[in-house]
């Protein structure tokens, strides 16, 4: 029976300052008070500011969470000098490249770009992404034609640096599920997931054609009026990236979906049903600018200006790949209570007990990793720290540590939040790439990933949800092992069976 392991993790951030206006909160607030648009525009970050932002650099692996913890705050005022858009765990792209990704992911000519933007986008993406002939889809129209389309058709104008850059068409006159706002949200999610999965296929051990199942865990809702949210964006993304031998499906569980997806993927691999499973999630356009009012009030930049995305590959591991332990999966059962203590009892204490482990046997916990610099100005607190203190309190109650050791527990086994507030993106999984690298360096043995989902938001239940799993360093026999250097694989290039 194969042992499922985390073979690869890729992350992506797409800077999208001119799409913030179409986030859910800005859309509602701007309709109420259009003058907010100018105030918001004045507080947007430039590409270079977003690139040099320490949490973003941590997300793509150029900075470790441990180093981030030592950086001076606020991070907005202490940029990383010489910040690079490509890191060992992923990449950042600017808005022009994002528009290009959306165009090459658009199979129904819904997105119209200006010629100038299309040309720049194609140049930005050339040689950077494995999408085969799809780069040729990035073509635009003259400005006059774009202006005419924007004036006469139903849809949403897209901007770059305040100028008209494109137009998103509605796909149906009466179907709100195919309205331009919904399609823009879905296309942005697809395009960013394409970027992350392309990187996984370029840089990971499995080429696109070796991946035989894709699980999408994004928060989009793809479908028309008769099957709103029916989904399978997984297969749509796999198609773009060249996963010709894969099928797929979506796992929906609010923010906890990626961890559910990874558990399903690991189970499929262990059962031998599929050999290499990609778990992906694209960005949430709805959550752009979610806390912009708090940011404006506090005089800080509007920091919810990036779409996040990720792609993980799960398959049979070698001696060097961290193992996903399916004997210690945590779940929040329907019968469990909803207090923080009850949640963590179910998600952490119970699975650890099943595995014969204590809380202090876990080197590092990856909980909700929302960047506190985004949430604090809006009054939402420091989410990771709150979670780590709850875990430490549980360790005290179980007499594993003393009350005086709470701060040390949080510092040693926690980390600062570094993920954008993109719902499913921060839910534990941003640490997986760092964890894999640290395990390969021999610095960590055991990490627990814990995610929670807000099921109650859909008004179908009052329940919350959560799942967890343990990632463990295998006992390697080869002490001379060093983490492999970066190998870039081109589109259509077959895998080597590694």
């Amino acid at each position: 029976m194969p042992t499922p392991a985390l073979l690869h993790a890729s992350y992506a951030l797409a800077h999208a300052p001119d799409l913030i206006r179409y986030g859910s909160k800005p859309t509602r607030e701007l309709a109420r008070d259009p003058s907010l648009l100018d105030r918001m525009a004045a507080s947007l970050r430039s590409w270079s500011d977003a690139l040099a932002y320490a949490p973003n650099q941590t997300f793509i692996g150029n900075l470790s969470p441990e180093t981030l913890a030592t950086r001076p705050r606020p991070w907005t005022q202490h940029p990383i000098e010489g910040a690079q858009p490509v890191g060992p765990l992923g990449r950042m792209v600017n808005q022009i490249a994002l528009y290009g990704l959306m165009k090459l992911s658009d199979d129904f000519d819904l997105l119209v770009l200006s010629e100038v933007v299309a040309r720049a986008a194609r140049t930005a993406l050339e040689g950077q992404i494995n999408v085969g002939e799809r780069l040729n889809k990035i073509v635009g129209v003259p400005d006059a034609q774009l202006g005419h389309i924007a004036e006469t058709e139903t849809g949403l104008p897209l901007f770059h640096d305040g100028h008209l850059a494109g137009f998103m068409r509605a796909a149906h006159a009466q179907d709100s599920s195919l309205g331009a706002d919904i399609l823009l949200e879905n296309l942005a999610c697809k395009a960013t997931a394409v970027l992350a999965l392309s990187d996984a296929a370029r840089r990971g051990p499995m080429a696109a054609d070796q991946i035989d199942y894709v699980i999408n865990t994004g928060e989009e809702a793809v479908g028309d009026r008769y099957q709103r949210g029916a989904g399978n964006l997984a297969k749509a993304v796999g198609e773009v990236v060249g996963c010709a031998n894969a099928t797929g499906s979506d796992t929906k569980a609010f923010c906890a979906a990626p961890v559910h997806g990874l558990i399903v993927a690991a189970s499929m691999v262990q059962a031998g049903v599929f050999n290499a499973v990609a778990v992906i999630g694209g960005g949430s356009l709805a959550k752009l600018g979610m806390k912009f009012l708090g940011h404006l009030k506090s005089g800080v930049p509007v920091m919810e200006d990036v779409l996040g995305a990720m792609a993980f590959v799960v398959g049979p591991g070698t001696d060097h790949d961290p193992v996903i332990r399916l004997d210690a999966v945590g779940r929040h059962p329907i019968r469990a209570g909803s207090s923080p203590q009850a949640m963590y009892q179910a998600l952490v204490v119970d699975p650890l007990a099943r595995a014969g482990l204590k809380l202090t046997d876990i080197d590092r916990y990856a909980v909700e990793l929302h960047n506190p610099e985004i949430t604090l100005p809006a009054g939402s607190g420091d989410v990771p720290t709150t979670n780590y203190r709850t875990l430490a309190a549980l360790a005290v109650m179980r007499k594993e540590i003393s009350r005086d050791d709470i701060d040390a527990f949080v510092a040693q086994r926690g980390m600062p939040g570094f993920a954008p507030t993109q719902g499913h993106i921060p839910a534990g999984v941003p640490y997986l790439g760092h964890a894999r690298a640290a395990m390969q360096r021999g610095e960590l043995s055991r990490v627990m990933v814990v995610a929670k989902g807000s099921l109650f938001l859909g008004r179908m239940t009052q329940l919350a949800d959560g799942v967890s799993f343990i990632l463990e360093r295998p006992t390697t026999k080869d002490e001379s092992f060093r983490p492999p250097s970066l190998v870039i694989r081109q589109y259509g290039e077959e895998g080597n069976g590694a």
């Binding site: 209570g337 909803s338 809006a378 109650f456 919350a464």
Partner: protein, 42 residues
Amino acid sequence: MELRGKRVIAIGEREGVQGPSLKLLAESAGAEVVFSVTQCFV
């Protein structure tokens, strides 16, 4: 605060105390919970 005989709207928070827990607490203190919900602020 005396909750007995009072009507309560319970608004919980995912990362703090959730709506169902607040409802249980308020009811155990003798209140009538007319609405409870949990919000997610992240």
